[in-house]
């Protein structure tokens, strides 16, 4: 089987509900999406629910057997050696994901099986990306997840300590439906300096037992992350914005983090699995980031050190059908071949023909005061205050 062509489509869509963190607490109500299809001479095509600038890389994979996905990943990575992987990471990830989809389809099996999972399911935690949600909406979100057995949650915090402590309590109460001691996580998205984190966490940990705090310092600040990990009871999770295993090296060597956040959108399935294996050697759990249709659960299901995967469900699946659902706290993957994702071309064309006008800051800028001082909520910035 040979790769013969590709197609990319981009579109924008409105979310079923807006999402926000401390960098943009007012939230965004939509986002851009994309698809990459890789076509073969035998009529099967692989799909990735993300696009990217594939054109300059395509000659490296054209005519090749898609089953050789890791060999092709190496070709692409070697090709962009001088400029570094970061510039091309999006396109390489998209190609890598589509090739893994193809590889599983050729074998006639779901991708979780290709990766070697026995059960085809990955443990989930609920993540509201919810700084824009009021107390009642917040409760409703985590309550809905708890209804499906999800016993962990992650709240966006960082701008108002009193409100944050109250809202963690709301998440706790909602998730109590699934567990007497739900896993409570918080996420400050690199808004605090290490010492700000340590001060805030000292107060939060008086009120709540926190499982992990995510991105409590800059993504590259291994000394700051380590300082935080040494001074708080909660585990420190970080890494979702890193794209290569090399970027994880200082975090691992300096024991800067307790949990590695990984994402196939950043590193492809191939790179993502390498990072997970590095974590495994260091007895570090990994946590898979959220994504459209939870498609990255296929890899998470096969990783020996995967703790739980972020599930947001803000409504991003307007033009895809997918073969997974959440049950008893797990993302349960189906038996459809590959990723189990089908693109509804009619709906995609409709979205492209009528692009929604989106509100919110794009592409997710950093908030004033980050790492220096907390710029609290501005009047009217969120509707729940």
């Amino acid at each position: 089987m040979k790769i013969t062509g590709y197609r990319t489509e981009t579109y924008s869509f409105r979310l079923d509900r807006a999402i926000g963190d401390c960098n943009y607490p007012g939230g965004v109500d939509g986002m851009g999406g994309g698809f990459l299809w890789i076509e073969t001479d035998e009529g099967i095509s692989g799909v990735a629910p993300m696009a990217g600038d594939v054109e300059p890389l395509f000659r490296l994979i054209e005519g090749q057997d898609p089953r050789e996905v890791i060999g092709l990943w190496r070709r692409m990575v070697d090709e962009v050696h001088k400029s570094g992987l970061a510039l091309a990471a999006g396109a390489i990830s998209a190609i890598d994901i589509a090739l893994w989809d193809l590889k599983a389809k050729i074998a006639g099996e779901p991708l979780w099986r290709t990766f070697g999972s026995v059960e085809g399911r990955a443990r989930a935690y609920a993540s509201g990306i919810d700084y824009n949600l009021g107390d009642e909406e917040l409760f409703a979100f985590y309550d809905g997840m708890a209804e499906r057995g999800v016993d962990g949650g992650k709240l966006k915090i960082g701008l108002d300590q009193e409100a944050d402590i109250r809202r963690i309590g709301i998440m706790h109460e909602a998730l109590s439906k699934a567990s007497d001691r739900p896993h409570l996580c918080i996420d400050v998205n690199e808004y605090w300096s290490p010492k700000q984190t340590i001060r805030y966490m000292a107060e939060i940990e008086k009120h709540h037992d926190i499982t992990w705090i995510e991105e409590p310092a800059r993504r590259w600040d291994h000394e700051g992350l380590k300082l935080v990990s040494q001074q708080v009871k909660a585990a420190v999770a970080s890494g979702e914005n890193l794209r290569t295993i090399g970027e994880f090296y200082p975090l691992v060597q300096h024991q800067a983090v307790d949990i590695l956040s990984i994402s196939a959108v950043q590193a492809g399935f191939t790179g993502c699995r390498q990072i997970a294996h590095l974590g495994h050697a260091y007895e570090l759990p990994v946590s898979m980031m959220n994504c459209q249709a939870n498609f990255m659960a296929h890899l998470a299901a096969a990783l020996p050190n995967h703790v739980s995967m972020e599930v947001v469900e803000p409504g991003r699946e307007h033009c895809i059908r997918f073969d997974s659902h959440i049950e008893d706290g797990f993302i349960v993957l189906g038996d459809a071949a590959g990723l189990g994702i089908e693109v509804d071309e009619d709906k995609l064309a409709q979205l492209q023909a009528n692009p929604p006008v989106l509100t919110g800051p794009f592409p997710f800028p950093r908030r004033e005061g980050a790492g220096l001082y907390v710029k609290g909520f501005q009047p009217g910035e969120v509707n729940w205050r």
Partner: protein
């Protein structure tokens, strides 16, 4: 597809020459192999090679874990086998059993797709760099020179690894002989030495420094005990040559001190350690640490399949290009110094049923195991050169 049962067959074969290292200079001429056949309801049989000493453990793992499972879930099945032996640890004997079963499971996974293992793993059909390894301490100077000459001229191998450690003057002389033989393939052959944990760190530093005055060595292998991460680190910091270590570690966790303390420059990986599954994990972890990996010798050179998916793969050990025992064939070939994995489904290993039946035995006879003489006296303290009795035994072995 479901796993239904397993069959193991032990067999005896001639090694082809008298093999030995610093721990066994008298050498041995016979080896023991084991064919593990993992059966399925789909008519496919997964082949594993090894595990001759752990046949009861193999049967127990198949009964207790693998039976009824789909072999395509290779990673998860490895984890289940390891988890089952959590309390006692999945190292030692049980590790050998898990390793050979994991090999057979991956063979099935690839056969289910009717493709070679390298493709199942996701590799491209690369040429795989390799080096000659004679395990040749018992051989006379003439015979070892002839052995490396054959590897250089017949297969184009441009690197060689010499067993050293008992007699510094002999080692210096023989490195030169190996170099001379390999120069038939390359003007500047890759020279490796292997002390098989016979030295203490400071012995290693003295010996290697002296050797470095005369030769440019690419690596010194196992120059201290396998667990001595500080000793290995000390050697690494004191010699120009790269320190290569790890072949006797069992699990990924065993490597953690190496990584954390930067003890080795090159990490040894083998599917014989714990299976193909953890070998892939180990290579990825080393990749994160910017460490090259080297693959050890393997039956039928099946490690060539694994090398295709290791971005930090450096070179692979070759003791035999053709399997010496007549019991199985491989479709991995070595041409012009490079191993090329074949296109037959799975591992590409095929069993000669008649030969296997003819050579089958019930028990491993004395002297045919992998390390029949154990660790040599003096190890880590002082060197004891081969005795007259050992030289006589080696000479007798060479005749045979």
């Amino acid at each position: 597809m479901k796993i239904t049962g397993v069959k193991t067959t032990l067999y005896l074969y001639n090694l082809g020459w008298c093999m030995g290292d610093a721990n066994s200079p008298a050498g041995r001429t016979r080896g023991c192999g084991c064919v593990v056949e993992l059966e399925t309801d789909a008519g496919l049989t997964g082949i594993g090679l090894g595990g001759g000493g752990v046949r009861p453990q193999i049967s127990a793992l198949v009964e207790g874990v693998l039976k009824g499972q789909d072999p395509r879930s290779a990673q998860g099945l490895w984890q289940r086998m390891a988890n089952k032996h959590f309390k006692g640890g999945h190292d030692g004997l049980i590790n050998d059993a898990i390793a050979v079963l994991d090999m057979a499971v991956w063979d099935l996974k690839a056969k289910a797709n009717e493709e070679p293992l390298w493709k199942t793993l996701g590799g491209s059909k690369d040429r795989i760099h390799c080096y000659a390894s004679g395990i040749e301490i018992p051989l006379s100077d003439e015979l070892m020179h002839a052995w490396y000459s054959r590897m250089a001229t017949q297969y184009g191998l441009r690197g060689g690894k010499l067993k050293v450690g008992l007699d510094q003057d002999a080692d210096l002389r023989r490195i030169g002989l190996m170099r001379d033989a390999l120069m038939q393939a390359d003007d500047n052959p890759m020279l490796l030495i292997d002390a098989n944990e016979y030295w203490s760190p400071k012995q290693a530093i003295r010996k290697v420094r002296e050797i470095e005055e005369e030769f440019d060595l690419t690596w010194v292998e196992e120059p201290a005990r396998r667990w001595d991460f500080l000793g290995l680190r000390r050697i690494k910091d004191s010699v120009r040559t790269a320190v290569c270590a790890g072949e006797n570690l069992d699990t990924l966790g065993d490597f953690l001190p190496y990584f954390h303390h930067h003890s080795a420059d090159i990490v040894q990986v083998s599917c014989g350690m714990g299976g193909i599954t953890p070998a892939l994990q180990l290579a990825d972890a080393a990749f994160g640490y910017e460490l090259p990996v080297t693959l050890g010798n393997s039956p039928g050179l099946i490690h060539a399949h694994l090398a295709t998916v290791m971005p930090n793969f450096m070179t692979m050990e070759v003791c035999n290009v053709e399997p010496p025992d007549g019991v199985f064939t491989t479709d991995v070939t070595v041409v012009d110094g490079w191993a090329i994995p074949g296109d037959k489904p799975g591992l590409g290993i095929e069993i000669d049923v008649d030969a296997l039946e003819k050579q089958a035995i019930e028990r491993v006879p004395p002297g045919a195991g992998p390390s029949p003489f154990g660790r040599r006296p003096g190890a880590g303290l002082y060197e004891i050169p081969p005795t007259e009795e050992e030289k006589a035994a080696a000479a007798k072995g060479m005749e045979a």
